[in-house]
Symmetry: C2
Subunit: 396 residues, 2 copies
């Protein structure tokens, strides 16, 4: 293994005593991020004012940051662009894919998809007279039939961590004449995503999970080069215009992925993300995947050996799993509150799932051991059985 | 005048010697913003991690920040929400308004609208089989006929500063059965916007101009309470769901303006904006408007008395003007470069417009005098006539 994960770990300044297994929801702050943002604000915004768009390179920042992410998802430079939120980018990708299959009206997805993706597709379907068809995750491959326009799938299930076979599903989709849109929210920075190798058509992802861009950091979108100049976005904003500063009254899409830009880029947020991506410079995706499997396997083995009260909610085969592990328990919410009280931070997903994300950049086998020990004690001694742990508040 | 503009001016730390007349493109940094963002990053994100969504109130931040903006646009608390970019919010508002007039298909706008709004409407029109009709600004009122579904207008023209009569156009629209969508990009923080008083239907705006939220800061959207529970957004994201953390597979819109939320809110950017809004706490909109008129009138008078080479490109009547002034000159690009070299920063808008924005929060009569003097010298001595000033680069 060439990647030095003890070094990447030092790039994060986690609170004392915390075992953080929730990077699949919100990645921790890389120490360089706060400094970089402060500099951007006091040296660029404050001093350059409007000229920062050129002098500080804000205008091209969405492309530069995107190129750093391209490597992490198996795409090429110039193929990815940043902006908006993941839901907006799902809309862009699915609407563009659908428009490339105008004679078909079915968008196929599965019940393991993150609900927001399904909501976005429902809104689109209502607007453009399409149909969203949702099947069980295991039924996706069989459900790809010749009436499908777009297969819209989240590669790694947000609750179970189940990983779809991107290559096989894409192949089947293409055989049936459909296009694919992959949501990489729980994949990018977690597993060895290989978009070009899988011959996928569109992909989108968020950057606040395993990429550690900060709460609500901008999303990314990728279009395969074969579609990049043909895809027509519904959300036509000036930053995706061929010549934004000509102020034409008619929209003309920019060449390639640039057309997927919409409004003015969020410079402060992109600056935090850019700093967070520094941590990835010397990380190989092969090593990342090996480390992730090592951690999740150790966690499953430890919990199953010590906690008969919980049931594995994730695939046992690591090849079918991302970098997170779910266990079910009837009092999962209270159990997670007890864990958090012991500074072991995972999260709860309705109705009964304890979810633990393992981020190779900063999690190690010591975190696995602490989490197993903590969970074992909490379940054995019923430490979760407290009224204050039962009072459920909305958490993300 | 009760507002102390010498005090609001101290909230900005502009570079030495700079006269900044481009706050209509990018507002300067309020000194409190960098500090607030640093604290959010190092004390909230870094230390609270995922629990920041509740403990630090990130989850409700889009509403809290929006309530501060509501006052500045004549709307009530709970009627505005933050998120995304202005182009996305234009899409949300126009698509929702159109859906409330399903038997009509024309979206009416004018050639003075910011092009991105027209692009967004073109994309929407293609997707939902509507028609975008664009007329001259002076023809808008007459063009509001009984086939119009939505009147989509930017209140203050981004080049000329011409201000539409929101109340009169809204009245006419309602008489004809149409709904109105007002883009407040060049109004919010610049003039005394009064949405409820004008009985408008929808409004959207950006926050990086006169509200000083920073480059690419989030947009806002307002829905009149009479439509808030009926408007159905096309962009259906989980943050606009009635119960986001139930993770239902079917979208159910939240009550009121909350349904216009889409994805995860941009916390770092909203924090900078929140700090920037502190400056507005003691500002009255009546005083703001009076101060703005004082500055723009003085600038027009000064330039016209000293610079016969330029032609006023803005309405002479201050009641028909926002807080910016345009002058035309055949070599406007080079003239603006010469001004910027003298630290008098306005901007150029194609094909031949010199644009100057006057922000009452930090601009004073001293800035007016410096700008008039600088422009006078540059034109009289043809200081703009240099090859390097002619080489045009894209600027925003």
């Amino acid at each position: 293994m060439m990647t030095d994960f003890s070094k990447t770990r030092q790039a994060f300044d986690l609170p004392d005593g915390v075992t953080y297994l929730d990077g699949n929801s919100l990645g921790p702050m890389p120490v360089g991020a706060a400094q970089r943002v402060a500099r951007m604000m006091t040296e660029e915004w404050s001093q350059m004012l409007i000229t920062g768009w050129n002098k500080a390179g804000w205008y091209t920042q969405p492309r530069r940051v995107a190129d750093r992410i391209a490597r992490l998802v198996g795409a090429g430079p110039g193929q990815v662009v940043m902006g908006d939120t993941l839901s907006i980018k799902v809309f862009q990708a699915v609407s563009a894919a659908r428009a490339l299959r105008p004679d078909r009206r079915v968008i196929l997805s599965d019940r393991g998809n993150f609900p927001s993706d399904l909501y976005v597709a429902q809104g689109l379907a209502r607007a453009v007279d399409a149909e969203l068809r949702v099947v069980e995750p295991e039924e996706v491959e069989a459900a790809i039939t010749k009436d499908i326009a777009v297969l819209m799938i989240t590669e790694v299930d947000y609750r179970t961590g189940r990983r779809h076979d991107m290559k096989a599903l894409t192949r089947k989709a293409h055989e049936m004449g459909a296009l694919t849109v992959w949501d990489l929210a729980h994949s990018a920075g977690a597993v060895d995503v290989a978009l070009l190798d899988a011959d996928a058509d569109f992909a989108v992802g968020c950057t606040y999970k395993y990429l550690n861009g900060g709460p609500g950091s901008p999303a990314f979108i990728w279009t395969h080069p074969r579609h990049a100049d043909a895809a027509q976005p519904i959300l036509q904003g000036w930053m995706g215009h061929r010549a934004p500063f000509d102020f034409d009254l008619a929209y003309q899409p920019a060449a390639g992925i640039e057309r997927m830009r919409v409004g003015t880029p969020p410079v402060i947020a992109l600056t935090a993300l850019d700093a967070a991506l520094d941590v990835w410079d010397d990380v190989s995706l092969t090593d990342l995947r090996a480390r992730s499997i090592e951690l999740t396997q150790a966690f499953i083995a430890g919990v199953e050996a010590n906690c008969p009260e919980v049931v594995l909610h994730s695939p046992r085969d690591p090849q079918q799993r991302g970098s997170q592990v779910g266990f079910r328990h009837p009092q999962a919410y209270a159990v997670m509150q007890a864990l958090i009280d012991q500074k072991i931070i995972g999260d709860f997903r309705a109705p009964d799932v304890l979810r633990f994300g393992f981020a190779p950049l900063y999690n190690g086998l010591d975190d696995v051991a602490r989490a197993v020990d903590g969970l074992t004690r909490i379940l054995r001694d019923r430490l979760w059985d407290r009224e204050d742990y039962m009072q459920r508040a909305d958490v993300t």
